[in-house]
Structures are given as C-alpha cells and as structure tokens.
Symmetry: C2
Subunit: 438 residues, 2 copies
Amino acid sequence: MLDPVKVGILGLGTVGGGVVNVLQRNAKEIANRAGRGVQVTHASVRDVSKPRSCPTDGIVLSEQPTDIVNRDDIEVVLELIGGTTRAYDLVMKAIANGKHVITANKALIALHGNEIFAEAQKVGVNVAFEAAVAGGIPIIKAIREGLSGNKINWLAGIINGTTNFILTEMREKGRDFNDVLKEAQALGYAEADPTFDIEGIDAAHKLTILSSIAFGVPLNFEATYTEGITKIERLDVEYAEQFGYRIKHLGFARCTDNGVEMRVHPTLIPASRLIANVNGVMNAVLVNGDAVGPTLYYGAGAGSEPTASAVVSDLVEVVRTLTVDPENRVPHLAFQPGSIAQKVRFLPMDEVVTAYYLRLLADDRPGVLAEVARILSETGISIEAVSQKEPPEGVNQTDVVLLTHKVKEKHLNEAIKRIEALQSIKGAVKRIRVESLH
Amino acid sequence: MLDPVKVGILGLGTVGGGVVNVLQRNAKEIANRAGRGVQVTHASVRDVSKPRSCPTDGIVLSEQPTDIVNRDDIEVVLELIGGTTRAYDLVMKAIANGKHVITANKALIALHGNEIFAEAQKVGVNVAFEAAVAGGIPIIKAIREGLSGNKINWLAGIINGTTNFILTEMREKGRDFNDVLKEAQALGYAEADPTFDIEGIDAAHKLTILSSIAFGVPLNFEATYTEGITKIERLDVEYAEQFGYRIKHLGFARCTDNGVEMRVHPTLIPASRLIANVNGVMNAVLVNGDAVGPTLYYGAGAGSEPTASAVVSDLVEVVRTLTVDPENRVPHLAFQPGSIAQKVRFLPMDEVVTAYYLRLLADDRPGVLAEVARILSETGISIEAVSQKEPPEGVNQTDVVLLTHKVKEKHLNEAIKRIEALQSIKGAVKRIRVESLH
C-alpha cells in the first residue's frame, strides 16, 4: 500500500476532535475502504495549552492555521473552524496551494461557495462539504449523485436539530418555547446565543446549498426567505395537532415555472407523513424527483461524531480519487478487493440472539401459564410481557401471547419443543422474532 | 461537449422502458450533470414485433443480446433482463469486451457477484448495481461512500415492497394474507408466481448485497437465513399491535464478534420507530454506524421509473468517470460549472403559493366568523377547516383557528390586513404555512 495521505486540520473543537477520534478508531477499516491510510500530521488550535477531546500523539499542534495550508507535504486540508472571514481566507489559500479541502462550514459554502468552487475548478482540486448539511446524513451525495437521473421537483428538510428538539418537546410535553430553549442550551443542543438556530439562519444556509445542487442554480443565500420559530406558541402546536398536523421548522425548495422558491419557516405537515415523525434533534430531508418519486434521508444532523462521519467519508472519497484508477474508484464491495475478509464466519441461526413473540393455543384452565413459564425459566428465558384473553362462551381454549427477553435461538427451540409436548398446549407454538432496532 | 456515450440495453421491459423514458425526458439535465450526453443506440428484446412502453426511435432493436455486448462502439451495457444464467453469460462477455456494465439484477449480484467483480477489477471496468437493492433509494451509494468513515454495526431493511404491502394491508384493514396477496397480484405489486417475494428470497438477495458492502465480507447468499411471511396471521398482527409493535418483513444483518449474522424474517418492531411506519410498497433501510449512529433511507423499492432512477444515476456516474478529470468528477454544485443557470429567477414570497393555518382572537359573539369568512372569500381564499372553542366562563373572547386551501401569499397578506382591521378581532392574526408534501 502507498504511504498514508497527509492531512492537516484547521480547528480541533467538537467536530475536529470527532474526526481525529473516528480516524484513529476506524483506521484499518478506512484504509481498507480507501485503498490507502490517512495520517493527520498537523492541526491548528486557538490555544495549544488547552486540553483536547481527542488524542494528539503524532499531530503537530500550532496556533497558526496558515502554517498548515502552506505546508508542501499536506495534501488535504480539513476546515473545521467555522465562521466566514478567516475560514474563507484559509480555504482560498489552501486551494491556491493545490490542496483538496473538506469543510463542515455551511455558512461559508452558502455565502462564498460560488467563488470557492470556481477557484477549485480552476486549480483542479476538490472542495467537499457533505458535513455542511444535515451532519452525518449523506444528503449531498444522495442528491448530487444518487438521484442524478432525476429532475428534482422539490425538497423539504428538517435541517436544524435545535428547532426540531424545541418543537418536539413543546408537542410531546406541552411545554413553552422559552422553557425548552433553556433546557436545550443546558444540554448543549443550543448555543449560548441561539439566534442562528431559532431564527432559521442556520437552516437557510443549508437550504441554500441543497437548492443549488438540486436545481442547478448558483448559491443564493439572500434569496432564501427565513423565518424562525420564536413566535410559535404551545397553543398553535395543540391546535395543529387537533387538525391532524405537526408543526415542524422546515426548509422547503421548489423549482417552478415562475422561478426557484427557497423558504425556511415553521410549517404544518400532516401527522401521517414520515417526516412529521422525525423528532428530537434528528434531521431528515425529503426529496421529490420526477423518476424516483419521494425519497427520505434521516439521521443525526449535528454532534461531534455524526459530523465527523461526513467529514471522514469525504476524506475517503478524496483518498480514493488520489489513489485508485478512476474506473475502480469505489470498490464494488466497498472495501478494496485485497482487504475483503476471506475467512468469515457466518453465524448459524442457532447462535442468533433475539427476543421473541410466542403465541400458543392453550387449555383455558388454571396452571397452564405457570407450566409454560416454568419451562421458559428452566431454559433461561425471561418473559417481558404476557397476554391471555378470556375465551368466548363455550370455547375452552385460548390464545396465550408472550414476549420474551433476548435469548439464543437454540434455547428458544428447546423451550418450544418442551412447551409443545405439554398436554395442555394444542398444536405448534407460533414464533416471530422481535428487534428493538436501538 | 464530447459526443454522447453510446449505451446498449439488454431488455426493454418494465425497467428498460423506464430507463429509455427517463433518459429521453431528462436528457438535458443529465448531460448537464454528467458533462456529456448519453445515447441508447441498441437494445435487445425477446420479440421485436411487440409494442413497447417507450419510444424506440433511433434505437436498433435486436433479438440477439450477444450482438450488443460484442459491438465495438458501445461503451456501457445495461443488463435489465433478469435471471442468473443468460444474464451472467452476457455480463461476463460484456466485461471481457471492456464494457462498463450497469445492472438491476439482485439475484445475479447476490449469487455471482464475487466472480463478476473479480473479472471487472481485472479488466478495469465498472459494474454498477445501485438498482439491485431498494430500487430508487441510493442505498448502495450511501453505505459504500456516504458512510465510509464508519464501522457499520448493523443494518435493517424493509427491502421487499410486496411483503410490506401485504403486511400493511393486514394491519390497517384487518385483512387476511391470502386475500391481500390476490389483490397485490391484481395490482401488479406481486408476480403471478409470488414465491420469490413472499418466501423472502428476493429480500435475501438484497440483504446479502447490503451485508457485503457494509461489513467487507464476500457475497454469501447461502449463509442468509430466509423466512417468508406466509405464516403470519391477522391475529398475530393484532396481538403485536396490542403490545405496541408492528410486524414487518425485515432483512437484518449484524457484525458480531462471533460472526456475521444475516437473516430475513417477519419481525416485531416497536411501533414508535420510524421504520415501523414505512407502509405500503415503500422500502426503507436503517443503517447503524459507529460514528454516525442510526441513519434511515426511504423511498420506492420497485417500479419502472424508481428503478430507472437508480440505473440512470449509475450511468451518470460512469459517464462522469469516462469524461471528467477525477478531481472534479462530481461537479461541486452537481451540474457542470458551465451549465449552471445564471439567469435564475428566485420567487419573492409574495408569489409563493401555499396553504395557511390562521389563528385569531375574536369577540365571542355571533357573526364574527361570518365576517372573517367573507373577507377570505372576497380575496379568493377558501377555507379547508375551522375550529372555534367555547371560551371559559366570564371570558368574552375566543380563538378562531382556520386552515385555508392554497393561496398566493400576496392575497393572504391582503386578507390578514383586512381581518386585523375588524373591530371584533383583537391583535395580530397568527399565521403558519401548511405543506402537504405530497
């Protein structure tokens, strides 16, 4: 394998720290996917003496970000400092120096993306920004590549976790806006100055980016109508509910014959829509393409490692481009052919551990349930819930329905065999597996 | 711009016809994204005399698919005939002839992908198969590229529309399995021989593919435990509901210390999970990565144009690879820099058309609602729903809440101004936009 690609990081805060942690933890996996390792050699921080949220062994720390973008040996620069003035200068300098740039900075792209991309195109480097919209959800990739055969009709997104958390709490717990905002700040979901979130500016940055890649128009933050959630009262949330709607803070963009529509505002959505059920700090984007119809992308829109997930995936993409033949840039099975595990053990069902739903037809007499429970207990299976209905007049058999806790399938099979042998049980025990999908 | 890339299609059935239709309808959009046009020059069909679901002007039809894979001028072959014997031979021949191959054939990839990919890697061509799993949802791309920084812990998918339709109908309408199956066949959601769907084989093909790209293991269909939904009774659906669960036909794969677990079977899922609310023929895949946490991808898993969406997106990817410098393979804003519309009109809010939620504080006396309704009617706004509560004892004002049909924002503003001027209305009218997101 080639030497690792050398990477410099501007900013080792929440996101930068997450990136270093993910790159270290998944180093082998990442190299096997990308065809080459990644090495963070330099990082800039505001104060080198401060404690870090990630290990920094082998990383040269500096308070001078320009040192990093000017180093000859660094091939990829991760811009994770935020803001639109210093970050802009550093990104432009990095591009001018022929470095690929990866950024999580939505404001920078929404406000200066047109110039940045023109410069990158001229120099022949990549500027990747998956992390700028909806954190860990690969929504840029989905629209820009996964739906590239479609004319995108419209898209709608819950693209700010703070406002979604506030609206979710208002609905689920009948709380007031200010009350929830304070909690969100205490939990770290909202900034000390929450203006960017609650006034919709952050969502408008993201919507601006989504609109451009969906409709093929230049980035135009100024044209995005922006309204926050500060005027939403508990009462409105309740009235909406009574009409069968949920209030969500939505970014909505549509391509019409009269022009491109981009707007961020509180929106009533029918409660039955999947996107209306996206709660808490989670994000989701619903995209409507003319061929594919509606598709939805859901996940964590912020946070250290979810955002790092997007940054690192962009990095894998850049490394693949630098390393592999274009025809086989992405390996067919995601991992480089030589690194696909060949001695894999596939688990037989006997060893699979899962919870179960069991339904049995039993004589309707005292003691039957106790017999079943005894067998389950003896085979090490504990019961989560039981339901037994009174049989109708004149019928002397009844359904017993059980949910078990997790158990190895082998033991469950044993228990079922013993239960089916009971005189009081008629026919086969019906079993369906249960997954909580946490 | 370069000459269009020449494409040959094997099979002009449901999916092949959809591909031709999408390529024609979105030709300009696709060329602007890919940097080069696409031209379908040849297609093979079983019977050239039959009517087609797509225009075939300019396409040479033949009953000999080998003619197509052997033509020197064809650069990309789309394999859309299905099956695993003829399709295998044709794909291997196309690869040997140096052609890029795009396929929607899940069985072919699940059963013969290991050999096919090894051959493609050797020759240096791409074999793309986004359409093989979950139709139009770009799930292969999401896992293989969008989440490439993660160790994937597990994934769970509703990846067969037929079984999801049947289970949804059983739950929502209390219908029996056989009854719904017959309807699904009549609607074209299920084949005349539905075995592949209802016995879980189709889902197992897809899960096999997802597991490989998630965990870096060879394709191993044999190791996938497969159980269909034929034994699920209405009663089980009801009991599950009572416990707070939904029964879904789920493909589940996990990477454990003991081995890789791959299983397709009916599964109880807590009703509150987003994936438990994926209904009808829709598909969804939930992926849990160590950095990103849970992400979900939702959309149409089958059908002519949703599947074509995935095939064409793969084609755009191949064309980008053939045409553009690797560093700028995917244009920053999805469309090639020269084809981004520069004279774009962005719609001012005055012209935006949407429905509204209105809340007004009104005197609690007869005739107030009539006055409001008259103003709305005079400004061309029709009312979808109204709710007016009895005020508490001693209070003589009450909330009137209205939902309007769609209206231009300018007219709504006019109406609000007039309503606010009414003596019987106190303070400002509260307004929130409503989107049905159909």
